[in-house]
């Protein structure tokens, strides 16, 4: 007997299929016969898809909350003991629910795209809507087929095993996956516009690039936030004191981020100079392909990873879909490349577009490096039947030079004008930041970093941060002189006058914080492990820790064992930390909850490794890592920059143009603002 939840959810999923199919057919009919009414049908299907996916998702949430174990997904991830909060977020905790969530987010994007752009003339938007419906169709087929979360379970179980313990241990699990989906799924929109542009024959003008850039900016902001939140989660939950392990699925989230970052930069070159048009098409299509590849890797069970879900036949559906996407992508890029020959030419090596070109080169090289490292084990196993694993050392060694080069370019690019820079400009813009480089390199040496790449990262961050800061300070100084504004007003007006540009610089600063945090914490990490009895102490990074207590506690869904440690400064207790171990009913391995004391300069991180059942002693691993919080803070700054740059502008509202004019004869170009 199907419950109301199951009935509504399953019904909505089944009903969505004909609507989606209708929409996909309606668009070409509307375009080819010029039938406005068919276009309305197509758009109506987009809205209907969102309504039905919402109904299905809400039915699932209702089933989870009411412990309706007659719904297969609930029987798989629910349990009466799980706290409400984790019950709700287990919507994306396992395969079927995550596919449902994906389809829901995708339908939301489809609706937003249509609602915001349907007044736009031409066939770009109809075809983009159709493309999004095609992607929706795939996920809807999954949802009524191999990933149906609404199967009827009979007899109804009394209780379920509950969600994966790792997913019910930290509040970031409520944050990381939705952000990731918003970022990942959002990359479908630029792809849809790319397909739309080719199908409607509008690939030659820059219109689709402008729309795609805005959408990429939003999705990129979500994806950046998601990656940082994922790092943070891994740091706070997994108990190894690290935040990035080059796990295949981490890489999968990073790959489209790299290409999207490249696109955000190269799109400017196309808008300004009409160059890189085929390349941009490649980046947009590539980013989408990489998101689907990432999903395929996680959902098909093809590689082993902490993130991988167990699966059945669903991998083959994904394989079919990824084939279609690759062929479509290849055909539209290669097929339209003739028409998209560059209009502009590089005028000089010393120009901003050259730096963007290099930036794209390095970002793409980075992406290919990570891609090769991620897929190599798969290729090796398929071709030679051997198990190979590619680990951190490969990725670190390969990526460090690229990261250093990118940091350096982040300092050069903003300083150079479009087209060509004069010798005087080069001198006045590129030399002063060297002081910043020297200062930070010295700081790194004083802090005790001996790793050459660590010092190089510090130096280049110093260089680039100074260069980026000068963009603000010089611009604000010009405004101050011209308008008699105070410094804060001048800064704000400057940013307001060209949010896209200065938002980008703000995001750069976020990257600098992240880079410093990673460079410091990975090179200057100290670690101690000790087995302590009550009252005994251990030393770490100049701090004394005293084990005060070992305790146990019953919670409805788990048993918790914890150790209380005091942080001592001389005889004074300056704080306590409580690393814990959680034992879940359906899991043999305990799940750790490390405890972290964060300071501006670094983190003291404690993990409970083992304990005597009688409570007589506990083994504690203590890790001190400098500047870890800078990574999280930097991530926040990156996202803030994306918001400043990407927030839709009210149309036609322009702040009176006051262009900083530091160096004649050629005024530095000011990018025009595009309404979203």
């Amino acid at each position: 007997m199907q419950s109301v939840n199951g009935l509504v959810g399953h019904g909505a999923l089944l009903l969505a299929l004909p609507f989606i199919a209708l929409g996909i057919i309606a668009v070409p009919v509307a375009v080819n016969r010029g039938r406005r009414d068919w276009l309305e049908i197509g758009y109506g299907a987009v809205y209907a898809n969102f309504a039905l996916m919402s109904a299905a998702a809400l039915a699932m949430i209702s089933a989870l909350v009411t412990h309706d174990f007659s719904v297969s997904y609930v029987a798989q991830v629910g349990s009466r003991e799980t706290p409400l909060f984790y019950t709700i977020i287990s919507l994306w905790g396992a395969l079927e629910g995550s596919i449902l969530f994906w389809a829901w987010v995708l339908s939301f994007y489809g609706m937003t795209v249509v609602a915001l752009n349907k007044s736009r003339a031409g066939n770009l938007v109809p075809y983009a809507a159709m493309t999004l419906l095609c992607i929706s169709l795939f996920f809807s087929i999954l949802l009524v087929g191999p990933a149906n979360p609404f199967h009827v379970v009979s007899p109804v179980p009394q209780n379920g095993p509950g969600p994966n313990p790792l997913l019910q241990n930290h509040i970031l699990m409520a944050v990381h996956p939705p952000l990731l989906y918003l970022g990942y799924v959002g990359m479908s929109v630029p792809f849809a516009f790319a397909v739309g542009a080719v199908l409607s024959g509008e690939a030659e003008n820059n219109d689709w690039i402008k729309v795609s850039r805005t959408w990429t900016m939003a999705s990129w902001g979500f994806l950046s936030a998601a990656i940082i939140a994922g790092m943070w989660w891994s740091y706070e939950v997994l108990g190894w004191g690290g935040y990035w392990a080059w796990d295949p699925v981490e890489n999968a989230s990073f790959l489209p981020w790299l290409t999207a970052t490249a696109f955000l930069h190269s799109a400017m070159v196309q808008e300004r100079r009409g160059m890189l048009r085929v390349w941009n098409l490649n980046l947009v299509v590539g980013t989408f392909v990489l998101t689907i590849l990432g999903t395929f890797l996680t959902r098909s069970g093809i590689i082993s990873s902490v993130h991988a879900f167990t699966t059945g036949t669903i991998g083959y559906y994904f394989l079919a879909f990824i084939t279609i996407v690759l062929v479509t992508g290849g055909v539209i890029v290669a097929g339209s490349s003739d028409k998209l020959r560059s209009k502009g030419k590089l005028d000089s090596a010393a120009s901003r577009e050259t730096v963007f070109l290099l930036n794209n080169l390095f970002l793409t090289a980075f992406m290919l490096t990570v891609l090769v490292g991620t897929l190599f084990p798969l290729v090796a196993e398929a071709m030679r039947g051997v198990k190979v694993s590619v680990g951190g050392p490969f990725f670190n060694r390969m990526s460090l030079p690229i990261i250093a080069a990118l940091l350096f370019l982040m300092g050069v690019g903003p300083a150079l004008p479009w087209k060509v820079a004069s010798k005087a400009e080069l001198r006045s813009k590129l030399i002063p930041p060297t002081a910043g480089a020297l200062v930070l390199a010295a700081a790194a040496l004083i802090a005790g970093i001996h790793d050459p790449y660590g010092i190089l990262v510090f130096a280049f961050v110093g260089y680039a941060a100074t260069a980026n800061f000068r963009e603000f300070s010089i611009g604000a100084a010009v405004r101050r002189r011209a308008h008699g504004e105070s410094w804060p007003t001048a800064f704000l007006r400057l940013v307001e006058g060209n949010r896209r540009r200065y938002g980008g610089y703000i995001a750069h600063f976020g990257v600098f914080f992240v880079a410093l945090g990673i460079a410091m914490s990975s090179t200057l990490r100290t670690e101690r492990e000790a087995t302590l009895q009550r009252g005994m102490t251990m030393q770490i990074a100049g701090r004394t820790l005293r084990l005060q207590d070992i305790w146990g506690r019953e919670e409805p869904q788990r048993q918790v064992v914890g150790a209380t440690l005091e942080i001592m400064n001389g005889n004074r207790v300056t704080g306590t930390l409580e690393p814990r171990m959680n034992f879940y009913r359906t899991q043999q391995e305990p799940v750790p909850t490390p405890d972290v004391r964060s300071g501006v300069l670094g983190d003291l991180y404690l993990n409970l490794m083992a304990f005597r059942p009688d409570g007589s002693n506990a083994t504690i691993r203590a890790i001190y890592q400098p500047l870890v919080p800078w990574i999280w803070f930097g991530g926040g700054v990156v996202v803030f920059g994306a918001i400043v740059a990407g927030w839709p502008t009210a149309r036609r509202r322009r702040v009176p143009a006051v262009v900083p004019v530091p160096a004649p004869p050629k005024p530095p170009a000011r990018e025009p603002e595009y309404a979203a």
């Binding site: 798989q76 009394q158 209780n159 339209s336």
Partner: protein, 188 residues
């Protein structure tokens, strides 16, 4: 549209799909268990679900692996909250009934669950021909290095683990394994 170039791009997809499709056939989680060939960890667990005649054991009776020397033992770990266990249940019960009178013993071991839930589940699923034991604190499951439920271990008459199946066990596979174990035992 330049169709020649488009065709070349599409053709480039073939090797990628080939690698992926090969990869699909390999299960990255299939790590060979170190257990087969080694002595089965001993257990002594109390029956909570008696099973049906002729395989019945009274509730509270202790099933000891040591007492089962000379018999092939099929040890199946399951739970009432486990959906995949439902898929193999009817098959297991039928196969067990089919080997009544042969030197084969089926034991169900309840994993991370209460006997109350287990008993109710068995009733709802239409009964179980062989007895099930309770495994408090999953001690035995841990000894056997359980990956998840369901998981089925086949123990030879000499008390060695011969094979294990993770996930629902298909009836014909269970029969095949048991038959091969019975022939190797009966031949001197």
């Amino acid at each position: 549209m330049n169709w020649r170039r488009a065709g070349i791009a599409a053709a480039l997809v073939i090797p990628v799909v080939f690698v992926f499709s090969r990869g699909m056939k390999i299960d990255p989680r299939e790590i060979p268990s170190p257990l087969p060939g080694n002595p089965a960890p001993p257990f002594a667990l109390a029956v909570f679900a008696p099973g049906q005649p002729p395989l019945e054991r009274p509730i509270g009776d202790t099933v000891r692996l040591a007492d089962l020397r000379g018999r092939v033992v099929v040890l199946n770990f399951w739970a009432s909250w486990c959906l995949a266990c439902r898929d193999e249940h009817v098959g297991l019960t039928d196969v067990a009934r089919g080997y009544a009178g042969k030197p084969v013993t089926f034991v169900g071991s309840l994993y991370q669950d209460t006997p109350g839930n287990g008993t109710q589940w068995i009733a709802e699923m239409g009964g179980q021909s062989y007895p099930s034991v309770n495994d408090p604190k999953a001690r035995t499951a841990i000894d056997y290095g359980l990956y998840g439920v369901p998981e089925t271990f086949f123990i030879t008459a000499e008390g060695k683990i011969a094979r294990k199946i993770t996930g629902p066990a298909p009836p014909q596979v269970i029969r095949q394994i048991i038959d091969s174990l019975l022939t190797t035992t009966s031949s001197p």
